[in-house]
Each structure stands twice: as structure tokens, then as C-alpha cells.
């Protein structure tokens, strides 16, 4: 069937120039987007929605940092500040970073990497996008009716007694949870059922391993968050005593429930980032990934171990010393697979042919920043030091190094890597370098200072602070402005590329995974031919073709499945 609709000029293999009839032009009008079942369009809609959330959360962050320029009131009141940091956390976590990579790049790339037409359950995919929109709307609407001042963790009994709009926000998060579960479920089914000929489990691109491990956590952990938030709502509205000691409940129980989801959720955030890293480091070093199986298994190990470490958020909560000991020990175990991945990425660069294109700049930034984020986790996993550092800016700095320095940076790397595939255009490499530099410098200035003030005892979630912390706070705020500037530059050149960027070839970077075996942007139906998968990191199978300014397979037939072979 695919043969019948082969684009003009297409012989065997991939079209190096995109047809005018691609997934972006196939179907006109807003409704053709909103009700599309095309994973690529859903991915692009997610990208727009999720980057909008990132912008919103970023604006909140800038307001917070500006307020912290001076002790006491700078621009907003204490109550506004408390709402602002809650919104910053809730929007960044539930609207942006948890769905982030899987919903955008995962949706777009996963079926393409499988050589497939779509995900296994396209309608469920659209439903999860609509659930995201609904949940996000409900959560953001809580701002209009008074916002929330509990912190994104909704700790009881504060959250059950505060006068702010806790219920809309938690219901929003509840709905977003379903979106996340559906996406995870869809990816698990797709990876199990739709792998092409030749793609055994250990011939899957590592991006898919990472997304698969993430999906396991999404499906298994998210329901616990949903139930916990429903219990919270039940307590607030019906006075059922579950968490509030005044009603006979136990506030520490809430923390156990909450972190039982929210610690695995940290790995929902970072595993897809690691998944992107494996692709970037290999392709831009021109080398086969080093230690494929160790990386693949470490993703699964992280997914499983992530369920066993939640108590390390509660070392000062009054839980027993024995519990603390067990959770501390288990916490260290989850550090190992992350370290293994970092060493494998470094080893991949050995004797490579390293190109410092924008995606690789982000990959290198990731190594630098994630190393700091991961290593500072050792201070927090260790009991004696965590008692001092818990709930200070040290923790704030640590998780921003992991979540921002890790996940967001890898996400940006992934966006720059797949941008030509998504939109068929190249962006300005020079502006991309400038933006990457601004983000790197701004990020470190913002958050490294927070390590130092934190270990000196500056508690987090503080509107006001002692004079002696002023210099740190001001440096941090200046850093956040540089960071914001970096993002404005990025928004500028990426948007510019959409209208004026050079046309992208099918394979601009030399990747050997299957998404590069179709034109940029891909046609609506993804591939002209049924494909067979080989080693996803066999980069030697490609050569640079100066005429089309892209890579082509030395043997184009090697990835084509002959009609008789199709199962």
C-alpha cells in the first residue's frame, strides 16, 4: 500500500527532500489538528502546550527571584510569594516536566523509531492530550479563584486547613495524572507490539528503553498520587480524618503516600532525559554507543529502585531511625545506575569524531550539570549531612541541577536534535550556540550560589531572609535573568527557523535510527516502505552526501523490508 502513494522522485529508499504533502500540511484548519490521531501532530501540540507551561512557570520563577533581591518586601507580599512558589513548582512539575519529554518528543519520535505508522492506540493518545489540556486548565484556573499557597507538595495539615484553592489545583493534578498514565500505557503497548522486523529488545534504540522504563513508572506510580489527592479532597470537604491529627489522622502518612509517587516521579522526569542523552552522545561522537546493555538495564534498574527510596524525603519527619537507615541505604543504590550511564556516555566519546553542533552542546552541558546534581545527591542521601541540609537551599539547588541541568537541558538537546525532523527546517547554529552558552552560565550562577547559602543554613520557601544571605540571593537573581535571556534568544531563532530556516535533509546529523529513514518533515503516513531495523548505533552504515547536505545510507536497501518478508 505504501508503494502506491510513493512521492514523486522516490525510488528505493528515503526521499531527501520533503514533499509539499507532509504531516504538517496534510489536513487544514484548527480542527484537523485538535482531533487528529496522528502521533506527530499530537506531539507538536504537546510541544506548544508544554513549552507554554514552561514559559508560565518561568515567569513565576523570575517574579520569585526578583522578590528575593532584597530581604523583606521587594515587589510582592508574603502571601503572594507563597502562592507564586507553589504555582512555580506545581506548573513546572505537573504541567511541564512530568509530561515533558515523553509527551512531546516521545510522541513524535517513538513510532518513527519503530518504523511504524503510529502508536498502538492513537485514540487513547488523543484522549491523553485532551486530559492534559483539561487538567492544565483546571489547575491554572485555580489562580483566578485565589491560587494555592501550600507548596507543590500539598503537605497536610497545612493543605487541609489553608483558605486557598487547594481543591481545584489537586483536581487538576489528578486529571493530569490520568493523562500521564494513558501516555505510559500507550508507549508500553506500542513498544511491545509494534517493533519492526529485526528490532529485538536489545536492538532497540536506547531512547526507547528510557521511554519504556519511564512508562512503567507512569503506569505503576501515578495511581497512588491520584488516590492520595482524592483522600486529601475528602478530608477537606467531608472532614474525614485521614491526615489531620485534629480529626484523628496522621500527617506523616500523607508524606509517605505523596512521596511514594513523587519520588518515582523524579525518575519519570530524568529517565527520558537520559534516553535522549544516549542518542545525542553516540550520533555527535560518530561512534557506536558504549556499553549498550549496561545503559539499557540501568534504565530498568532505576525504574524499579525508584519505588524503594521515597523515605529519604522524610529523614527529619520523625520516622524511626531504622526506617531512616533503610531508606538511606536504598537511596545510595539508585545512584549507581546513574553513574554507570555517565561513564558509558564518556566512553562513547573516546576516539570519536565529535561535532559540537547545538544538540551536542546540550549533551555536554548535561554531563557537567548532571554530574553536579547527582553528586550533591550523595550529601542528601547520607543521614548525618541530610539532617543539616534538608529543607534548605542546598536541596533546592540539588534538584534544580538534576531537573533543570539534567532534564530540561537534555530536553533542549532533544528539541534541537529532532527539530529538523519535526519541522523540516534548520535553525541558526550560531544563535543556538549563544543561547546554549547563556543558559549554561545563567543556570550555574543561579543555582550554584544556592548550594552555598543552603549549606550555610538558608531555609527554602522563605519570603524574608537574614541580611547575611543577601549577596548570594542577588547573585542568584542575576543568574536567573541571564538564564531567561538565553531562552528568549532560543525562542527567537527557533521561531525564525520555521519561516526562514534552511530546508532540512532527511538525515542532517547521521543518526542510524529509523526516524531518519523518512523525509523531514515526514509524510502523514510516516514511511514509504516497510522497514527492517539493524543495529541502531551502526553509524558507519551512513555517509555524508554534500549534494543534499545530509547523510545517506551506503546501502539504502539494508533497511527496506522486501514485500515477501513482511510478517
Amino acid at each position: 500500500m505504501a508503494e502506491a502513494i510513493s512521492a514523486p522522485g522516490g525510488g528505493a529508499g528515503v526521499d531527501h527532500t520533503a514533499s509539499d504533502d507532509n504531516y504538517l500540511t496534510h489536513g487544514k484548519g484548527i480542527l484537523s489538528w485538535l482531533f487528529t490521531l496522528d502521533h506527530k501532530r499530537i506531539g507538536v501540540m504537546y510541544l506548544v502546550a508544554i513549552l507554554s507551561s514552561f514559559f508560565l512557570g518561568g515567569v513565576f520563577a523570575l517574579v520569585l527571584r526578583t522578590e528575593l533581591l532584597t530581604p523583606g518586601q521587594t515587589i510582592i507580599t508574603a502571601d503572594s510569594y507563597n502562592k507564586m512558589f507553589t504555582l512555580h513548582g506545581a506548573v513546572m512539575i505537573f504541567l511541564f516536566i512530568i509530561p515533558g519529554i515523553p509527551a512531546t518528543l516521545g510522541n513524535f519520535v517513538l513510532p518513527l523509531m519503530l518504523g511504524a505508522k503510529d502508536v498502538a492506540l492513537p485514540r487513547l493518545n488523543l484522549a491523553s492530550f485532551w486530559l492534559w489540556l483539561t487538567g492544565a486548565t483546571v489547575a491554572v484556573a485555580s489562580i483566578i479563584i485565589g491560587a494555592v499557597d501550600t507548596g507543590w507538595t500539598f503537605y497536610t495539615p497545612y493543605s487541609t486547613t489553608t483558605g486557598t484553592a487547594v481543591i481545584p489545583m489537586t483536581l487538576g493534578v489528578f486529571i493530569l495524572g490520568f493523562s500521564s498514565i494513558f501516555t505510559g500505557l500507550n508507549f508500553i503497548v506500542t513498544i511491545h507490539k509494534m517493533r519492526p522486523e529485526g528490532m529485538t529488545w536489545f536492538r532497540m534504540p536506547l531512547f526507547l528503553w528510557g521511554i519504556y522504563a519511564t512508562a512503567i513508572i507512569q503506569v505503576l506510580a501515578t495511581p497512588v498520587l491520584g488516590i492520595t489527592l482524592l483522600l486529601l479532597v475528602a478530608e477537606r470537604t467531608l472532614g474525614v480524618g485521614i491526615f489531620d491529627p485534629a480529626l484523628g489522622g496522621d500527617p506523616i502518612l500523607y508524606q509517605h503516600f505523596f512521596w511514594f509517587y513523587s519520588h518515582p516521579a523524579v525518575y519519570i522526569m530524568i529517565l527520558p532525559a537520559m534516553a535522549i542523552m544516549s542518542e545525542l552522545v553516540s550520533v555527535f561522537s560518530g561512534k557506536h554507543i558504549f556499553g549498550y546493555k549496561f545503559i539499557a538495564w540501568s534504565s530498568i534498574a532505576i525504574a524499579l529502585l525508584s519505588f524503594l527510596v521515597w523515605g529519604h524525603h522524610m529523614f527529619t519527619s520523625g520516622q524511626s531511625g531504622l526506617t531512616n537507615m533503610i531508606f538511606s541505604a536504598l537511596t545510595f543504590s539508585v545512584a549507581i545506575p546513574s553513574a554507570v550511564k555517565v561513564f558509558n556516555w564518556l566512553a562513547t566519546m573516546y576516539k570519536g569524531s565529535i561535532r559540537l553542533a547545538a544538540p551536542m552542546l546540550y549533551a555536554l552541558s548535561f554531563l557537567f550539570l548532571f554530574a553536579i546534581g547527582g553528586l550533591t545527591g550523595l550529601f542528601l542521601g547520607s543521614l548525618a549531612t541530610d539532617i543539616h541540609l534538608h529543607d534548605t537551599y542546598f536541596v533546592v539547588a540539588h534538584f534544580h541541577y538534576v531537573m533543570f541541568g539534567g532534564t530540561v537541558i537534555a530536553f533542549l538537546g532533544g528539541i534541537h536534535y529532532w527539530w529538523p525532523k519535526m519541522f523540516g527546517r534548520m535553525y541558526s547554529e550560531r544563535w543556538a550556540q549563544l543561547s546554549a552558552l547563556l543558559i549554561f552560565v545563567g543556570f550555574n550562577l543561579t543555582f550554584f550560589t544556592q548550594f552555598v547559602m543552603g549549606s550555610h543554613g538558608m531555609p527554602r520557601r522563605y519570603y524574608n531572609y537574614l541580611e547575611r544571605f543577601t549577596a548570594y540571593h542577588q547573585a542568584s537573581t542575576v543568574g536567573s535573568y541571564i538564564l531567561a535571556l538565553g531562552f528568549f534568544v532560543m525562542a527567537g531563532y527557533l521561531l525564525h527557523s520555521l519561516v526562514a530556516g534552511e530546508r532540512a535533509p532527511a538525515n542532517p546529523w547521521g543518526g542510524a535510527t529509523l526516524e531518519w529513514e523518512t523525509s523531514s518533515p515526514p509524510p502523514y503516513y510516516n514511511f514509504k516502505h516497510d522497514l527492517r531495523a539493524g543495529d541502531p548505533y551502526d553509524l558507519d552504515a551512513l555517509r555524508w552526501d554534500p549534494e543534499i547536505k545530509g547523510y545517506v545510507r551506503k546501502d539504502p536497501g539494508s533497511v527496506l523490508l522486501s514485500p515477501g518478508e513482511a510478517s
Binding site: A78, D79, N82, D149, Y155, P157, Y158, T162, P245, S285, G286, K287, I289, G291, Y292, T316, S317, G318, G321, N324, M325, S328, F332, S333, I336, V340, V342, F343, L346, M349, Y350, K351, G352, S353, I354, L364, L367, F368, A371, I372, L375, L378, S382, L383, A384, T385, D386, I387, H388, D391, S455, H456, G457, P459, R460, R461, Y462, N464, Y465, Y537
Partner: protein, 338 residues
């Protein structure tokens, strides 16, 4: 350089310790018996972290410089898998984190186990004020302790979760409603140190501060005797003012006319107040007393019934002192007009 740093830490524990009274680049001053070992562990992990961080970044930079793509050149071939190497870089971190875990747990046990002879002080957190009750029943807004003596804090909360944090002592413990939590320390140097609330608790979270005053040998008892006697030595109005501040009233009730969580108590005595049930009362001694002991009974219109009761927390004589303090402006104007 990093290796030397590490070796120094391993073999000469004190070599890098700065003067404990000043604090270091990373840490505040060390003022408790456990602070030294916490900082030692911090520096130990720091040394390991710096070592691995430098290793990662140096390898990365060297590879980028050495193997940077040049025109017409492709990657050299090298194996994409090496079990011995991969097992090595898995096992070495495993061993290191076991060591870190061990020291962390050992330090934690010391922090979690108070000596049997510890002096006990009761702590209560409420939005947004600390109060410290000494064995003789005296309550103060700051934590006064003798130097060189183990102190155990037995803590509870009147409302939401708070957390008592003294950076100079390296201790932190959540203060949870409905249960008692404990923390202990032994201060090693007289002086004044900051005490923070570390668990987010609302509007006044960042101003829920107190001082820890560590008294030189022999002076704590003198201070406590003098402070406990304030009802006898101060005038009722002064004693009332002290109580008003020390017991957290000011967190919700201003004395400058502005409404906070509760109504302002400036010139409250004799004022006519509209209540949430629609009736109107004149504030007198009885109403003030009732509002302290049964705050939800008659709430001024426009305010939420959120004030905790002080039943059993204030003595009769103390309530009378507070009434005297709130009454003082009315008394003064009576005096001047007559």
C-alpha cells in the same frame, strides 16, 4: 590536587578544619558537639564529589579537544563494550557509597541518641512563633541553654507541621501536631545563634525565627531564676507586654491598628465589636479572657475562627497581666481626660 585533598581528609581529619567559630566557605560555625563530625562527613563527600566531577569534566574536555571532528575524518574504531571496564566503574562507586552510607548512619545515630542526663526543654511551634518551656514552667520566646550540657528538646505543634532548625548545631527536626518529636544537642560555645522554622507553614514562615542563647558556665541558672520571676518583678502592664510578644499573640494581632489574621488589639478595651453571629459586644475583661481560653466562642465579624486555645497554656496571673496590657491605653486616656 584533588587527590591530596582527599588524602588529607582521610588521614588527617582535622587538617582542613578551619577555626570552628568562624565557619567555612560551605558551613556555618560549629557550635555543637556533633557539628564537627557532620562537617567532616560533608568534606569527605565533597572530596569524593570533586574528584569525580573533575574526572568527568576533564575526560569530557580532553575527548572533545582530541577527537573533535575534522574535515573528511571519521571516528576511529574501538570496541563498544568492555565488561571488565564496565564492572569496574560499577563496583568502585558501589564501594564508595557504602562507606558514605556507613559514616552517615553512624553520625545520625549520635544525633538521634541523647545522653541520659540531658536537660529537658519543651518546645511548641505555632504559626508563626516558637515557645520554649523550661522545667520550672517558665515560657520564653527564645531558646536559652547552658554551654557544655546536653539539652533535649521535646517538641509539638499547635497547628501545622513546623521544623526546628539550628544551623550552627547542625540539627533539624520536624515539629508535628498530634505527636512529640525529639532532638538533642550540646552547645560548645557561648553566644547567640539563629533558630529557623524549616518546614513551610504559611504567611509568616520566614519570620518564624528565634535565637538560641548559649550562656557561659553558671550563668544559665541565674538567667532562668530572674526571667521566671517576671510576674513578680515587672508591673502587670510590662509583664503583659512581654507575654503578648513571647506567646505569639503579635503574629496575628497587631498593636498598630492594622488587621492581620486577627483583629488589631490597639485600643481594643472598651471597643464595640460586631460579632460573626450578628450581635455586638463591648470588649471588657471577661471578653478578653474568654477569647484567650475559648477563642471560637465569639469571633469578631470578618475573621476566621482559627486562633488556638490557650487553655492550660497561660496561668491566671498571666491572663490578668495581658488584660492589664490591653487595658493600658484606655486607662491612660481615662487618666488624662479626668
Amino acid at each position: 590536587m584533588t587527590e591530596i585533598h582527599l588524602a588529607q581528609l582521610l588521614f588527617a581529619r582535622t587538617a582542613l578544619a578551619p577555626d570552628p567559630a568562624d565557619g567555612s566557605f560551605w558551613m556555618p560555625p560549629q557550635v555543637s558537639t556533633i557539628a564537627h563530625s557532620v562537617d567532616w562527613l560533608f568534606n569527605f563527600i565533597l572530596a569524593i564529589s570533586v574528584f569525580f566531577f573533575v574526572l568527568i569534566v576533564v575526560v569530557m574536555v580532553v575527548f572533545v579537544l582530541k577527537y573533535r571532528r575534522r574535515e573528511g575524518q571519521t571516528a576511529e574504531s574501538s570496541p563498544s563494550h568492555n565488561t571488565a571496564l564496565e564492572v569496574t566503574w560499577t563496583v568502585i562507586p558501589v564501594l564508595l557509597v557504602i562507606v558514605i552510607f556507613f559514616f552517615g548512619f553512624k553520625g545520625f545515630l549520635d544525633m538521634a541518641t541523647p545522653p541520659a542526663n540531658a536537660y529537658e526543654i519543651m518546645v511548641e511551634g505555632q504559626k508563626w512563633k516558637w515557645s520554649f518551656t523550661y522545667p520550672n514552667g517558665y515560657v520564653d520566646e527564645n531558646l536559652h541553654v547552658p554551654v557544655d550540657r546536653p539539652i533535649q528538646l521535646v517538641m509539638s505543634s499547635a497547628d501545622v507541621i513546623h521544623s526546628l532548625y539550628v544551623p550552627a548545631f547542625r540539627i533539624k527536626m520536624d515539629v508535628v501536631p498530634g505527636r512529640y518529636s525529639k532532638a538533642w544537642f550540646e552547645a560548645t560555645q557561648p553566644g547567640e545563634y539563629d533558630l529557623f522554622c524549616a518546614e513551610y507553614c504559611g504567611t509568616g514562615h520566614s519570620t518564624m525565627l528565634a535565637h538560641v542563647v548559649v550562656h557561659p558556665p553558671g550563668e544559665f541558672e541565674t538567667w532562668l531564676d530572674k526571667a521566671s520571676d517576671f510576674l513578680a518583678t515587672m508591673s502587670p502592664v510590662d509583664a503583659g507586654r512581654k507575654l503578648f510578644q513571647a506567646r505569639g499573640c503579635t503574629q496575628c494581632h497587631s498593636m498598630d491598628g492594622s488587621a492581620k489574621t486577627g483583629p488589631t488589639l490597639l485600643n481594643v478595651f472598651g471597643r464595640r465589636e460586631k460579632l460573626s453571629n450578628g450581635t455586638t459586644i463591648t470588649v471588657d475583661e471577661n471578653y478578653i479572657r474568654e477569647s484567650i481560653l475559648e477563642p471560637a466562642a465569639q469571633v469578631v465579624a470578618g475573621f476566621e475562627p482559627v486562633m488556638p486555645t490557650f487553655q492550660g497554656r497561660l496561668k491566671d496571673q498571666e491572663i490578668m497581666a495581658i488584660i492589664a496590657y490591653l487595658k493600658a491605653p484606655a486607662e491612660a486616656s481615662k487618666g488624662s481626660s479626668s
